[in-house]
Structures are given as C-alpha cells and as structure tokens.
C-alpha cells in the first residue's frame, strides 16, 4: 500500500501548470491577460517619459517625439495600444464573471473570442482615428 501510494505520487503532477493542459482559447486569453498586464506595467515608463518630456521643455519633448515616431517607437506604441485594449476587455470579461454570469462553456468561449477579436478591431479603429487626427492621407 505504501509502495503503491509512493508510485502514484511520483507520477501525478502535484501542481498541474500550463504545460500539462491542452491549449484552449479561454486559457490562452487568461495567459495573454497576465502578459499584457505585465507589459503595460513596464509601459508606464513610456507614459512617464512622455509626460516628463512635456514638462521638461521643447528639447526633451523633441527627443521623445523622435523616439515614438521611429519604427521601433511606432511598433512599441502599437503593441501598447493593443495590450491596453486587450487588458481592458479582458478585465471587463473578468468583471462579468465576478457577477457569476457568462460561465457556461459556450459563453466562456464567446467571451474569450470577443476579447481577442474586440481588442484587434479596437486597436485598428484607435489607430485609424489617430491617423485621421494627425491629418490623414496627405
């Protein structure tokens, strides 16, 4: 009996983690919610830089504008936009679940898909509005 228990214990994952489970959309959206949260955490540097540059003066602001206008800067800003919107929609999804609604299998899948599609669509919409605000096609 003791040997059997020891044998079973050795094979059983004590703390099943990501690699144990088959990837599913709801699971991936949960992972992405945490990753976008962590990314936005470090993105706070970008926000602080923008505001400090504006407060410091035209030269510092020019440096920030040069960076954010560069290919890398635009790439980061696009990722920041998507992360922000995805994390917001993911948060709304969690708030819905907190009220014990939307927890049925089909509803969970629908909400996960809505988070992903919604974040991509909203990111394109926000950048479209931003493009027009910048003067649009010239």
């Amino acid at each position: 009996m003791a040997d059997l228990e020891a044998g079973m214990r050795a094979q059983r994952p004590l703390s099943p983690h990501l690699q144990i489970y088959t990837p599913m959309l709801t699971m991936m959206m949960s992972v992405v919610h945490r990753i976008t949260g962590a990314a936005l955490y470090f993105g706070m540097v970008l926000l602080a830089w923008w505001l400090l540059a504006a407060a410091a003066g035209p030269n510092a602001y020019g440096t920030f504008e040069w960076f954010i206008g560069s290919v890398i800067g635009q790439f980061i800003l696009f990722g920041y936009t998507w992360a922000l919107l995805h994390h917001m929609l993911g948060g709304i999804r969690h708030l819905i679940w907190d009220t014990l609604h939307g927890l049925e299998p089909s509803e969970r899948e629908m909400l996960a898909l809505a988070t992903l599609v919604g974040s991509i669509v909203l990111t394109v919409v926000v950048w479209g509005i931003g493009y027009l605000a910048m003067g649009g096609p010239r």
């Binding site: 949260g37 962590a38 936005l40 706070m44 602080a48 505001l51 400090l52 504006a54 708030l95 926000v126």
Partner: protein
C-alpha cells in the same frame, strides 16, 4: 494570553482573515481599480489621440488644463495601484525563493512609486507651471 485566545483551536485561528491578518482587500481593490480603469482608459486614449502630432506648446497647454490634468492624475494613480497589486500577484505566483521574493516585492513597490510619482509630478508641473 486571554482565556478566549487560549481556548481557540488551530482551525479557529486560521478561519476568517487567518494568520495573514487581512482578508480579500487586494482582491476587492483590484476590482475597484479595474472598474474605474475602464472610463479612465478610454479618456486617456482620447487625450493621447487629441495630442498626436501637436506642438510642444499645445501639449503643455492641454495637459495642464484642469479637466485633462485631473483625468490624467486619476488615470495614473488608479493604474499605479492596480499594477502594483497585479505585479505582486505575479511575483507571489512564480517567485518561490524567500530572499528573491522579498527583493522582488520591494522592487515592485519602488518601481511603482518612482514611475507613478514621476508621471504625477509632470502633470502637476504642467498644471502649475514654473
């Protein structure tokens, strides 16, 4: 030790808030800041879009105007607290070494204070000038 404390069982002691002496405060605060974060995030994006490509003078004027400044301050403070709780949760999930965990939790607090205060200071300077 009072009579009441002495007769409590081990189970009785960990019930309620338990040995941590606090309950679901962070869980609740994360919900409050997430609800507040929805309109603030939308407002933040609108402010950024409105300032795209504008001159430094215009950006200074807009960010320093009362309505925009207060909105930005609310956004920054709300986000700072929200991300402090969030990163703490991530650290507690993945960092198991006691010393590294302690250092990580402190670094989280320091980073949030520095980044948050820098952003708040910038808004205040833009608002009050000098």
């Amino acid at each position: 030790m009072s009579e009441r404390a002495r007769i409590r069982t081990a189970l009785g002691r960990v019930r309620g808030p338990g040995p941590a002496h606090s309950g679901t405060g962070h869980f609740w605060h994360q919900r409050v800041t997430s609800v507040a974060g929805i309109p603030l995030t939308i407002a933040f994006i609108a402010i950024v879009i409105g300032l795209l490509g504008r001159s430094h003078a215009t950006v200074v004027q807009v960010l320093g105007s009362p309505l925009v400044a207060v909105t930005m301050l609310l956004f920054i403070v709300n986000v700072a607290y929200h991300m402090w709780i969030g990163m703490q949760e991530i650290i507690l999930d993945y960092v198991h070494d006691d010393l590294l965990k302690l250092v990580s939790l402190m670094a989280n607090t320091f980073y949030v204070c520095v980044a948050g205060l820098a952003a708040v200071y910038a808004i205040l300077k833009l608002s009050f000038g000098v």
